[in-house]
């Protein structure tokens, strides 16, 4: 901007600095809301009376969650044989559900970490809820492998803890890698979430104290660690947040890579492919964004958060869903191409069998939901129709569950020895256990929206126009 003033005989032939064309930036907080409006809006959700719909949903969620409790109780009391697994299909719904829930979690980390590194500021209004979704999805995912070990009281054998047999874990196994990947993922997600919550807990501490609610003020204050908004603290805080975003990015990619190693490191046709890591990661982000849309759109409507989750946010999420869904579709095609190009008859059979064998119904549900559904997001009219976006997001969730089912079950049901081929159907115990995890997830999510700020207030204030110390000028 200042280049004009230097125009004289000494002016250099090139510009002192290049000012890129100022692209109009999307407004992230609409209607020019003030800082205190944001505080009132978000804290008001927690401080207000518990709405009736919350109690209705909570009761319903508890009821659904009781199915998991029932399924697991019966399993523990009887034995792992109550699930429908039998030779040759020894992995089925348990691992399908595990991968499904872990995948859902990945969008939360993508929003909080990868979009933070890419300076996508639109992430601010959705990252808190998406991170909560991650943690609760990991909780649901963890149920399945832990109870699949059968004697769950020996589940600590998964970790290298000295035990009476003096034997150690087999660290050559991708299943053991998975133990470390998923437990690290859960831990780091909780820590990342907590660090983000810290300044907002301090706001709640002060507001409850001002309202004379000592007990609630004490609880929020305890976890706020005495945060006082000091800029010397903010400096370390922001750096720590950036480092956490920086390590969460390779973490989220590595976790689903290692989950895919559970299959890719084996020798089974249909599993033994090098495309699995990127294909699984893309699928995880795809399913996760489906779940973010499924959760955020009703939340936005119920709490009137249209100024904070704007149409621009929905557009961005739909476009990411479209992009990752298309990557997943490409991976499906590439699997077939490599199966043909590799000229391995077993590999070729595995894929033809997926599309036209006994489980063809599952395969075509997967293709319709995962490849065709996201293509609607090319159209602005679809992205602007919130109800339609919500319905499509449900299809994405369904499709991604079927993807894991197709990969796991079709390959196992037709293994190397035709005499042992089988057809797997889930038992009622598995159906109960899986159905109930939606209740477990909903219970946790409802508690979250009732007791914690669903949006990061400090971060939202920082992206408002009035937070710019230069008054909107470039610097």
């Amino acid at each position: 901007m200042g280049a004009h003033h230097e125009s004289s005989s000494t002016a250099p032939a090139i510009l002192a600095e290049v000012n890129p064309t100022a692209l109009p930036r999307a407004i992230l907080v609409e209607n020019n809301r003030s800082y205190s409006w944001i505080t009132e809006k978000i804290c008001g959700i927690i401080e207000g009376k518990t709405p009736t719909w919350w109690w209705v949903c909570f009761a319903l969620a508890c009821f659904v969650a009781s199915f998991t409790v029932a399924g697991i109780s019966y399993l523990v009391a009887t034995g792992v044989g109550v699930w429908g697994h039998a030779n040759p299909v020894n992995w089925a719904w348990d691992i399908v559900n595990f991968v499904f829930w872990i995948g859902i979690g990945h969008a939360g980390t993508l929003i909080s970490a990868i979009l933070c590194l890419l300076r996508q500021k639109w992430r601010t209004s959705i990252n808190r809820a998406a991170e909560a979704m991650t943690i609760f999805a990991v909780v649901c995912a963890g149920i399945f492998p832990v109870f699949h070990v059968g004697r769950v009281w020996y589940a600590f054998y998964l970790f290298p803890i000295p035990n009476s047999n003096a034997i150690w874990q087999n660290f050559r196994s991708p299943l053991e890698w998975d133990v470390f990947a998923v437990s690290t993922y859960g831990t780091v997600s909780v820590l990342f979430w907590y660090v983000g919550l810290l300044p907002d807990l301090a706001i709640l501490r002060d507001r409850f104290e001002a309202a004379g609610q000592r007990a609630r003020s004490f609880i929020y204050g305890f976890f706020a660690m005495g945060w006082r908004g000091s800029n010397r603290h903010w400096s370390n805080y922001e750096m720590a947040y950036l480092v956490l975003a920086g390590i969460s990015t390779p973490l989220v990619l590595s976790v689903h890579t290692i989950v895919s190693f559970d299959f890719a490191v084996s020798l089974l046709p249909g599993w033994h492919t090098t495309i699995f890591p990127p294909y699984f990661v893309a699928g995880a982000i795809f399913s996760g964004f489906g779940m973010v849309l499924t959760l955020m759109l009703p939340l936005r409507a119920v709490y009137g958060l249209q100024d904070l989750i704007t149409q621009y946010h929905i557009d961005c999420m739909c476009k990411i869903t479209l992009a990752t869904g298309t990557i997943v579709g490409y991976a499906y095609g590439m699997e077939f191409f490599i199966a043909w190009y590799g000229a391995n008859p077993n590999e070729g059979f595995a894929f033809v069998n997926r599309a036209f064998g006994h489980y063809a119904w599952a395969y075509w549900i997967m293709i319709s939901c995962n490849v065709i559904t996201p293509q609607f997001f090319w159209f602005k009219s679809v992205r602007h129709n919130t109800s339609l976006v919500w319905i499509l997001s449900i299809f994405v969730n369904v499709g991604m569950w079927f993807e894991r089912f197709v990969i796991i079950v079709t390959s196992l049901a037709r293994d190397f020895l035709p005499s042992s081929w089988g057809y797997y159907s889930p038992s009622i115990v598995e159906i109960f256990t899986f159905f109930g995890t939606f209740g477990v997830f909903s219970v946790l999510f409802l508690l979250f929206i009732r007791f914690l700020p669903i949006m990061p207030m400090a971060e939202l204030k920082a992206v408002t126009p009035q937070a710019d110390v230069h008054g909107g000028e470039k610097h």
């Binding site: 290298p160 908004g229 370390n236 971060e459 710019d468 110390v469």
Partner: protein, 177 residues
């Protein structure tokens, strides 16, 4: 100054105001002072003359310890404490030890980063003179403050007050220690 006073606090209404004022306090040579803001104000670190945060150094140490922990654990359990041939594979190889070491690198980096952030910030500290100020609660909501501590060598009640006034500070108040 008598030890009964912690320092002076001044109120600012907007982010650009505190940004300008922080530059003035920095240029006046104060060291023991702070800004209280409801969100991290972009550029305020520079206006306060703060250096780069030390948190990443601790993160690096955590990461290195994590990686070494992973490799050592897998080597010791598989090749030293209880040797067992599984699938004809070697007792130890950095190849199969890598995924777990990688995850532990990230886990320990996260611990070091968060622990380091709390350590460098001196948190948890549930009682602080600044938190006793009656209007400080707005500092979490929508108002900005500058606090200059009495222990700063340049602190002088009259002069410091004049500086804060000249920088545009409102409601300048003495904080009890």
């Amino acid at each position: 100054m008598p030890p009964s006073s912690y320092g002076l606090i001044a109120t600012f209404e907007t982010a650009p105001q505190i940004y300008q004022a922080a530059q003035k306090v920095r240029d006046a040579g104060y060291k023991n002072w702070d800004c209280i803001t409801p969100f991290p104000v972009h550029g305020l670190d520079g206006a306060m003359g703060l250096g780069r945060s030390q948190v990443p150094r601790l993160s690096l140490v955590g990461g290195i310890i994590g990686f070494i922990t992973g490799m050592t654990m897998i080597y010791w359990t598989g090749a030293v404490d209880y040797e067992l041939i599984v699938g004809g594979k070697p007792y130890f190889s950095p190849m199969f030890a890598f995924p777990i070491s990688y995850e532990l690198t990230i886990l320990f980096t996260a611990f070091a980063t968060i622990g380091g952030m709390f350590f460098l910030n001196g948190l948890p500290m549930h009682y602080h003179p600044v938190l006793k100020y009656e209007h400080i609660k707005r500092g979490m909501d929508d108002t900005f403050f500058i606090v200059i501590e009495a222990r700063d060598p340049r602190f002088n009640l009259a002069n410091t007050k004049a500086l804060l006034e000249q920088a545009g500070g409102k409601a300048i108040t003495e904080l009890e220690a």
